[in-house]
Symmetry: C2
Subunit: 168 residues, 2 copies
Amino acid sequence: MDKRLDFIFRRRSIRQYQPKVVPKEDVKALLEAGMAAPSASNLQPWHFVTVTDRAKLNSLAAAHPYGKMLAQASLAIAVCGDPKASERYWDQDGSAATENILLAAPALGLGAVWLGCHPRDERKAAIRKVLEIPQNIEILSLISLGVPAETKPSRTQYSPDRVHEDGW
Amino acid sequence: MDKRLDFIFRRRSIRQYQPKVVPKEDVKALLEAGMAAPSASNLQPWHFVTVTDRAKLNSLAAAHPYGKMLAQASLAIAVCGDPKASERYWDQDGSAATENILLAAPALGLGAVWLGCHPRDERKAAIRKVLEIPQNIEILSLISLGVPAETKPSRTQYSPDRVHEDGW
């Protein structure tokens, strides 16, 4: 692993958190990271729903089949997209924004995990209800965040059989 | 902008390059970064085609409507996905891998820009032909890379009207 890129390799899926609040300035920093993502034609078709309300976090934990850890998380961010703003690319742009937030987390002393929502209608419907997200807005992902209560080593998953030089 | 996250804010779309080769170890580091991305159920449904051959880079420049800069780039990476490995999430996973490579570039002294391919069939067909990518493999993005001949300041595009607290 190239040591210059540890800020990438140290992003791991963190699902165990301490019962500590994420400072407001760190929530802002995570959103700055998300909105620093590239987007097709720079249309920035994204919206972010931040959730710190305990009852809503608990409801989200029940709304997503792999979301149990949200009942311990002190912050969730739903990354949404407006298909009217970018019909073809809202999901790719939202994925880049999601990844930026995931990479920002360890630099702020936080841990995070990406919960897939789109294109699963039942997950989107359940989250939409909890967060009152309008029907015309897509829900790409849900990010669970908190101060970590577990550590995992940096890693790449580099595999030479996925690399093709100068053609397949 | 939170200074702890400059590794994210300094990623800008770089389209002008010096006529310098990207060292082999940096190509490897970029691929390590791509494959460090999260993927749904950790299925890692990605493939990466690296291109340093001058004639092929020139052909790619002609194959993508916004790809002119590839004629000056010393490296391109086509980020591909195998829908058989992950039908629902190959494009989101590939987007996270693409973003990782874009963020790795400045840390290695390189500049990069994301060229959208999927879901535009005509772009995918043209690139598929140049790189002989099999029909069953999707082409998500093409990344143009090189030693920068332009600089751009760090930035976020933070906009408070895209933030919704504890519900829309």
